[in-house]
Amino acid sequence: MELQARRQNRKESRPAMSEIEKTIPIEVLRYRPEQDTEPVLQTFQVPFTDDMSVLQGLQYIKDYLDGSLSFRWSCRMAICGSCGMMVNGKPSLSCKTFLRDYYPGGLRIEALAHFPIERDLVIVMDDFIEKLESIKPYIIPKTPRALSEGEYLQTPEERDVYEQFSSCINCMLCYAACPQYGLNSKFVGPGIMALLHRYNMDSRDGGTEQRMELVHSEDGVFNCTAVGYCSEVCPKHVDPANAVNINKTESAKDYFLRFVAPKGAAK
């Protein structure tokens, strides 16, 4: 009831829409498991203003044209990482992509590539989450530390080493961009490597050895063929390709040097 009222309110507070004469065709990939045997495209004519993001276009569809359309979003400001989708074939944050840039031609929105579709634009992200958990994405202290010993100190220089990689928002655009992940989803992939590197590079962390086993493994960095598209689509300039590259060198060093100075991290 309250929702209805709010929607009604929104409709009324938005008379501007009826005055807008610009409309743009948006093709949306639909998949409703209870009625579709496979994903199908559906086109909506959406009135828009120049300040409207692709996400707002979808919200317009959901509010006024077809309430059954499903998609993820939260922050609307490129920080939560939940609104990733393919816009004209390119992995994009829909809240950071604008309808005006596709006018008058129109645009096609599809679920993020390389992931199973749960419903419409909502993908199944279990694989990514499992990988994220597996790399222990938190600081593992070198030695246990009592509260009474106070906080960890870190110089700005020490922070600079990993800061870029800590900007990852888990949006998975890089996975949708990675042809190798598309061919073999067991590959650890770009974003997780960026996060793994972020913790390994942190002066407060002592968990590198635990994390490197995956890097050295059959599912590790050597699945990458240095395409670099992951870094191109990353909305936070994390440069995951660089994290992968650095770790290829690290892993190759370890491969040969482990006989000289065995660390016993890998089988």
Binding site: D127, E130, K131, S134, P179, L183, K186, V188, E213, L214, H216, S217, E218, D219, G220, F222, T225, K248, S251, A252, Y255, F256, A266, K267
Partner: protein, 122 residues
């Protein structure tokens, strides 16, 4: 997910690939220019520079032999790795057979070239 945590032996091939790639980027165009354009057309270098006697003398010296060996083997390791991965990229998930061909040819060539050059030097 259940990752396959078996240690990958990719670093061996990756390093050979990288070394070959670096070398071919640095020397490849120059070699093509010298052997394919400059010498046949007599530009800069005299056509005689790559005559049989000159090249034989080059291959008989251990520096020349070493150069030829490194160029032949590393270029092939680079090419083999590139072709193997490109097959995968275009959707041909070639298994052991492709691996044997892509890495076997460079391996055989490396050994054959080493033998031939060693016998030419000594």
């Amino acid at each position: 997910m259940s990752a396959n945590l078996k240690r990958s032996n990719a670093p061996i091939f990756w390093l050979l690939f990288g070394a070959g790639g670096m070398l071919s980027a640095l020397l490849g165009p120059m070699l093509v220019f010298i052997t394919g354009i400059a010498i046949p057309l007599g530009l800069i270098l005299s056509p005689d520079a790559m005559s049989y006697t000159h090249m034989q003398a080059f291959a008989h010296h251990w520096i020349g032999a070493g150069f030829i060996w490194v160029i032949v083997s590393l270029f092939l390791w680079h090419a083999g790795h590139r072709i193997f991965h490109s097959l995968h990229d275009v959707g041909i998930h070639a298994g052991t057979a492709a691996k044997l061909i892509c890495y076997g040819i460079p391996l055989v060539a490396t050994i054959v070239a080493a033998r031939a050059l060693i016998t030419s030097v000594v």
